[in-house]
């Protein structure tokens, strides 16, 4: 399995320009996250500490080709005088952790409940299907708003809200796949030979479900970034005090009120958010085009 993944990855990197681009951007983001964790230029400022020293350099403009007030702060400083580059660097790993935790948690819940629904008796199947549909129609923004009121704002709140509205899509995909699989001969044969349910689920149903859903999940991760940033943007713009946590969406949301004077507070985190989403979407596109020859042929003429 591991060898297969590596060989597929190398083939993808060689064949698909889209995947190569997306992979490079995502890799750069991961590197940024590591740099931000290990050695950002101004660690305390990056994590949101405001001192008299920082307040002295409020709103320094960024380094542009024709005007560079200080090379110490290439992206300028924010309204509290904190170095924007450090904040973006420290925020990189937060964004990555948020995306991957939402993805992994919703994948886990979704696949588990989907397989359970697809491979159980009618009562459980119906019950879980209704549950899935119920969570599918709840908008993530409303859940996030409710959670912010209940639990207060923070990374965990947003992740919880997104997981709660994200898993039904994977559950439904898994359910559909398993419903088709359980009629196939190899599952039926396992049942006839007396294989246990756990054996059938983990040995046969899970691998067959996983490949499809993982491709879907990687394609989805771009939209998770956008969705998460939107919720954080709203939280940030509703916030009365300056944001400490260097979450890109929140920085943008809070910085929006200064856009006429300190425009760089919104623009630079926005660029990095865009890049992360773009990288993940390109990667997912490349992967799904690789998996589906029809798509590959259709787009192959110009990519």
């Amino acid at each position: 399995m591991n060898r297969q993944v590596t060989s597929m990855l190398s083939k993808l990197l060689r064949k698909s320009l889209k995947f190569r681009l997306g992979f490079a951007i995502t890799l750069a983001m991961v590197l940024m996250g590591i740099i931000g964790l290990v050695t950002p230029p101004y660690r305390d400022e990056g994590w949101g500490l405001v001192t008299p020293g920082t307040l002295a350099k409020q709103g320094l403009p960024p380094c542009l080709p024709l005007s560079c007030p200080t090379p110490l702060h290439p992206f300028g400083t924010d309204e509290m005088g904190r170095d924007l580059l450090s904040r973006i660097l420290v925020g990189a790993h937060i964004a990555l952790i948020q995306v991957s935790s939402v993805l992994l948690l919703s994948l886990f819940i979704g696949i588990f409940l989907g397989i359970l629904a697809g491979y159980s008796n009618r009562v459980i199947e119906k019950l879980l299907s209704y549950l899935t549909e119920l969570f599918m129609i709840v908008p993530s923004f409303i859940v996030a708003a409710a959670f912010v009121v209940i639990f207060g704002r923070g990374m965990l709140t947003v992740v919880m809200a997104l997981v709660l509205t994200w898993w039904p899509w994977y559950a439904r995909t898994a359910y559909t796949i398993v419903r088709g699989l359980r009629e196939l001969d190899f599952i039926v044969l396992c049942e006839v030979m007396g294989g246990s349910k756990a054996y059938i689920i983990f040995r046969h149903l899970l691998p067959n479900t996983l490949s499809t859903i993982l491709v879907q999940a990687i394609g989805d991760s771009g939209s998770i970034v956008i969705e998460m940033a939107s919720i954080n943007f709203l939280i940030g713009s509703a916030s009365l005090q300056s944001i400490d946590m260097p979450e890109w969406g929140m920085i943008m949301g809070y910085g929006l009120r200064y856009i006429r004077t300190f425009w760089w507070i919104v623009i630079y985190p926005g660029i990095f958010l865009l890049l992360l989403a773009l990288g993940l979407i390109l990667m997912g596109d490349g992967l799904s085009e690789y998996m589906s020859p029809v798509l590959r042929r259709r787009w192959g003429t110009w990519i």
Binding site: N121, L184, D185, F186, V188, E191, V192, G194, G195, H204
Partner: protein, 315 residues
């Protein structure tokens, strides 16, 4: 039926139906048969004759919305007792060979991995060497090399996949193997190969039940044959008896059709619901229909093993 040989699968007035919106659609109706141990038993009939449903019942694969009547005994265990059925008790004793062998193998696992699972599920605590030896023993009975074990199912040809399926069925060490249309996807050469392999299974002490529409294939492979039409058994018997002296007009028609002797259409078009009306199931197509055919004839035995359900016999 050969009574000196104990029956491993016995059906007594077995009926199997599927619940529909209005009423129950009986796919198998009042079937009584006995499959002798260590024999090759063919169930022959056209599409919709209920042969697959009967095979599913024997292998314990009836969907939950089926209705059963009568009794089915597999390996001395009462599996179907009127409307109660418990298939869990025969899990492992009956194994199927599927119609489409390529869907019978998990596409994400190598043949070797699937094979190991099958062998391990029967015998615990095997060492690696013993496992390999057991697998190669089963592979050699179907004339496959060990290289097959490193392949994925999509890399196998249809005949190879079918032989792998047979070897796996053997490795599960069942008492009964139900083969549902085992040769319908194969060409003539592979058909004879698979037929001979199925015949060879008897020496492992396995009873083979072959469900097929191909009466010529059945005549070459089987010891006993059951002809079904419209959910009922119309003729049973040893292969020689039935082929030397086919008594039911449907059997005669089947043999003629298989030998490409059919030139005329002797049937009026009938719809499925008419099967379940009163009277002989075959009366709509029968060239010899007469007054008594308004009642379904019972299965009458003309010899010890040879039975036929037709009013023209023994009247």
């Amino acid at each position: 039926m050969d009574l000196s040989n104990e029956g491993i699968v016995k059906a007594k007035m077995l009926s199997i139906g599927y619940e529909t919106d209005e009423d129950i659609l009986w796919a198998v109706k009042d079937v009584s048969l006995e499959v002798p141990k260590n024999s090759i038993f063919c169930i022959v009939g056209e599409s919709g004759s209920g042969k697959t449903t009967l095979g599913n019942a024997i292998s314990g694969l009836l969907p939950p919305y089926t209705v059963t009547r009568g009794h089915l005994i597999v390996d001395n265990i009462l599996v179907v007792d009127n409307n109660k059925s418990n298939f869990k008790v025969i899990r492992g004793a009956v194994v199927r060979i599927p119609q489409n062998p390529s869907s019978a193998l998990n596409p994400y696992l190598r043949i070797g991995a699937i094979f190991e699972d099958v062998v391990k599920s029967r015998t615990r605590n095997l060492t690696k060497a013993e496992l390999r030896e057991t697998i190669s023993k089963y592979l050699s009975t179907v004339q496959l090399d060990e290289e097959v074990l490193n392949l994925y199912p999509y890399q196998l040809s249809g005949g190879m996949a079918q032989r792998v399926a047979i070897a796996m069925a053997l490795a599960a060490r069942p008492k009964v193997i139900v083969a549902d249309e085992p040769t319908s996807n194969l060409d003539a050469y592979l058909r004879s190969l698979v037929g001979n392999m199925l015949r060879g299974l008897v020496k492992f002490g396995i009873t083979v039940i072959i469900i097929t529409h191909d009466i010529v294939f059945a005549s070459h492979v089987c010891n006993y044959i059951t002809v079904m039409y419209g959910g009922r058994v119309v003729e049973v018997g040893g292969v020689e008896e039935v082929f030397a002296n086919p008594l039911h007009p449907y059997t005669v028609g089947l043999i003629e059709a298989a030998l490409l002797k059919k030139t005329t259409v002797n049937s009026t078009k009938i719809n499925a619901t008419e099967y379940y009306g009163a009277g002989c199931v075959y009366k709509h197509k029968c060239p010899h229909r007469s007054e008594p055919c308004r009642v379904m004839p019972p299965l009458k035995h003309v010899s010890k093993t040879h039975g036929v359900a037709c009013w023209r016999v023994g009247a």
